[in-house]
């Protein structure tokens, strides 16, 4: 009897508007349509308003000649290039400065964070001082400091500091010989790739051997030798296929070579020293979060301080460190938009700045720029999430 009643209760023939599934589907569709309608209204209204105000719209400008120059271009660009190309120049400059800064900020941050926990009182205090100073000063001031107070004090081009090896340092940047790849250089590139692959294979083999026999191979040394030695040998074997474009003194500037402009240097130094303070705190939090018993246990096994940190503490600390690290990387990328204040030609400077002003199409520029930063952020997040699942504590 009760079974029958139960069966009747689950009868699918309930009135459709009482079916929870259909209801939930209905409300979700309704919300989606309402959202799309709002979006369409905003779009339509924008177009109508801009038209009414005689403001140009659309992306026709993308292929129009830009007519202005950019100080740092990773891809060929001149005033005769299009606005679209200027966009890519700015985008790549943003990626360059963010990538370099993330790299250095992570290294500095980890070092400072570990030093902050040092048993040496002076070292620990100095690290704390660094963190407090950089965490509590606005980034813009940090950038002005490096650009306006430090780098601009370097000598003028005609009094450049000459460093042996055709390197010049002056207030317009650091000029180094630019390597020019000659015909046979691809052979060397290929050998680098092969050497790296061989190095990975050696590591795998060493790990398997240790698991099977307990015997440890000096895998680190072998792979280093491979990665450095093989390309070097190939390089000389095919007749040194690398030329140099040397910087030469001109009337105003030192021309040729590869110029690390002070804008780029100030941005990288400023962004990485600033973000490093936050990363250091994340690292410290992560290390502190590892129970003290772990360290004591490692010590009682006879591991050295360094080994304890590297093999026991850090792997456990990473699961605490990675999520805040992700948001620091995101902030750093977004903070790189301050470049315009010291003349660094990033995306916001070139595209949302000059291109916006020359075309006057604020809506298009701001939308595209927002989309770019959103994409950067989502990609960084995706990578960090993947990394996080790798370092997360595996619970059984």
């Amino acid at each position: 009897m009760s079974i029958q009643a139960n069966a009747k209760h689950q009868d699918p023939k309930v009135v459709f508007y009482n079916d929870p599934k259909i209801r939930s589907l209905f409300f979700q569709c309704f919300l989606l349509i309402a959202f799309l309608a709002l979006f369409y209204f905003a779009y339509d209204n924008t177009v109508a308003n801009l038209k009414k105000r005689n403001i140009a719209q659309g992306f026709a400008f993308w292929n129009v000649e830009a007519g202005f120059d950019i100080s740092q271009t990773l891809i060929p660009y001149s005033a005769a290039s299009s606005y679209g190309r200027a966009f890519w120049v700015g985008l790549l400059n943003t990626l360059l400065v963010s990538g370099l800064s993330i790299f250095f900020a992570t290294i500095i941050g980890v070092v400072i964070g570990v030093l902050r926990l040092s048993k040496n009182w002076v070292v620990s205090r100095l690290a704390a001082l660094y963190i407090e100073v950089f965490r509590n000063v606005p980034l813009l001031l940090v950038l002005y400091f490096w650009y306006g107070a430090v780098l601009s004090n370097l000598p003028e081009p005609r009094d450049s500091i000459a460093i042996p090896g055709d390197i010049w340092l002056n207030s317009r940047g650091l000029l180094v010989p630019r390597p020019v790849m000659l015909d046979q250089f691809w052979v060397v590139s290929l050998s680098v790739l092969l050497a790296v692959l061989a190095g990975i294979a050696v590591h795998r083999h060493a790990r398997r051997k240790q698991a099977e026999t307990g015997e440890r191979l000096p895998a680190g040394w072998i792979s280093t030798l491979l990665i450095v030695g093989v390309p070097l040998a190939v390089y000389f074997a095919v007749g040194q296929p690398l030329g140099l474009d040397l910087p030469v003194k001109g009337r105003f500037n030192i021309n040729g070579g590869l110029n690390l402009a002070p804008e780029l240097v100030a941005m990288v130094v400023g962004l990485s020293t600033y973000t490093a303070a936050f990363i250091a705190e994340a690292v410290r939090a992560g290390v502190v979060a590892v129970s003290k018993g772990q360290t004591e246990a490692a010590h009682s096994l006879g591991l050295t301080d360094g080994q304890t940190l590297r093999l026991v503490v850090m792997p456990q600390a990473l699961r605490v460190i990675v999520p805040p690290l992700n948001s620091e990387f995101l902030s750093l990328t977004k903070n790189s938009s301050l470049g315009v204040s010291i003349g660094y030609p990033d995306l916001v400077n070139v595209f949302t700045g000059t291109v916006l002003n020359q075309t006057g199409q604020a809506v298009e520029m701001v939308s595209v720029t927002m989309l770019v930063y959103l994409t950067f952020s989502l990609l960084t997040s995706a990578f960090m999430n993947w990394f996080n699942t790798r370092v997360a504590l595996v619970e059984r």
Binding site: N45, R53, I55, A56, F68, E263, G343, T359
Partner: protein
């Protein structure tokens, strides 16, 4: 600030109602009780606030003249400092009522930005400022030089054009504001700084050693600077336009700050029309008939504004040159008030 304005435009354009673009600016200004004027925060002689926050400059006096015409009180102006990059967006989005910020009148700006110029209050041209010790005597010597420039200007484009046309090489360093560009030039980041020559004269004064710098003789572009308003409000355009012409007519007729009351009593038919004792010229603009009397009492005529802010007796020491009246060999010419 910059992002805020841009975001505001997007928001305003997206969700603002479709209304008659900006009709009734004069009524809005009257209702607000003050004129909101987009100004240059950092070019001595044209627009710059002093230590006490008092704004001075040729463009600033134009803002005051408009306020005097509307309210008979030149202090009823709110100055909004704008960088060259933000100025047009700020005007188009309605943040300011009028933009008087040494802005160059060009065709594309008028056809794509939704703005319209009301006149030319300063005829200018682009030049170069260099340090004397480089020994540069002419712009043709600048091959290979590094040049600092401010973003969002016609300057940026003229510079590229000039070097492309002459086939010379240069390196550009672009800054968001003129202060940043000038400071970078002063600290030796660049060999030359380029902007309108009036701006160069002003910026030279802000160098740590002004006498070390010279302005090169070449003028590489036409830079007609003037006040501009949003499109779609002809009444407001007329008002701003005729404040400018009124200042020129006042100079032409010898009406000055000192003698305006006396001239207003004159029986001369031209003076009677101009100063509002005859005809309804002010009312047709939506103002009082004594509009020009109010303006001249507050800021003087065009010549007085010029002499006070940028003339030979000011630090800028600019000659009238193209900015003299048409009958004195210059280009400043106003249609008659009749």
């Amino acid at each position: 600030m910059k992002k805020l304005i841009a975001a505001a435009v997007v928001a305003a354009a997206s969700f603002g109602l479709v209304t008659g673009a900006s009709a009734g600016t004069l009524d809005n200004v009257k209702a607000k009780g003050q004129l909101v004027c987009g100004a240059n925060p950092g070019t001595a002689g044209f627009g710059v606030p002093d230590e006490k926050g008092n704004w001075t400059g040729l463009d600033v006096d134009y803002c005051r003249a408009i306020a005097a015409a509307i309210f008979n009180d030149p202090t009823k102006v709110k100055f909004v400092p704008l960088s060259s990059k933000d100025r047009f967006t700020a005007l188009a989005s309605g943040e300011v009522d009028v933009l008087i910020r040494n802005s160059t009148w060009t065709m594309s700006r008028e056809t794509t930005l939704g703005v319209i110029w009301a006149g030319i209050n300063f005829y200018d041209g682009q030049g170069f400022l260099v340090n004397k010790k480089l020994g540069v005597k002419s712009a043709t010597d600048l091959d290979g030089a590094t040049i600092c420039v401010q973003q969002g200007t016609t300057t940026e484009l003229n510079l590229a054009d000039y070097f492309r046309a002459t086939g010379k090489k240069y390196q550009v360093v672009t800054f968001g504001t003129s202060e940043e560009a000038v400071k970078a030039y002063d600290t030796g980041r660049c060999d030359a700084y380029t902007t309108d020559r009036s701006g160069l004269a002003a910026d030279r004064l802000s160098m740590s050693k002004p006498d070390d710098h010279i302005i090169l003789p070449e003028i590489i572009s036409k830079e007609p600077l003037g006040p501009l308003v949003r499109q779609g409000d002809d009444q407001w355009l007329n008002l701003v336009k005729w404040v400018h012409y009124g200042l020129l007519v006042a100079e032409e007729d010898g009406i000055t700050k000192a003698n305006v009351d006396e001239k207003a009593k004159s029986d001369d038919p031209e003076l009677k029309r101009v100063l509002g004792t005859d005809g309804k010229f002010g009312e047709s603009l939506g103002l009082s008939n004594a509009w020009l009397v109010q303006i001249v009492k507050a800021v003087g005529n065009y010549g007085e504004i010029f002499e006070r802010n940028v003339g030979p007796n000011t630090p800028l020491q600019l000659a009238r040159a193209s900015n003299a009246l048409w009958n004195k060999g210059g280009l400043q010419y106003a249609p008659p008030i009749r």
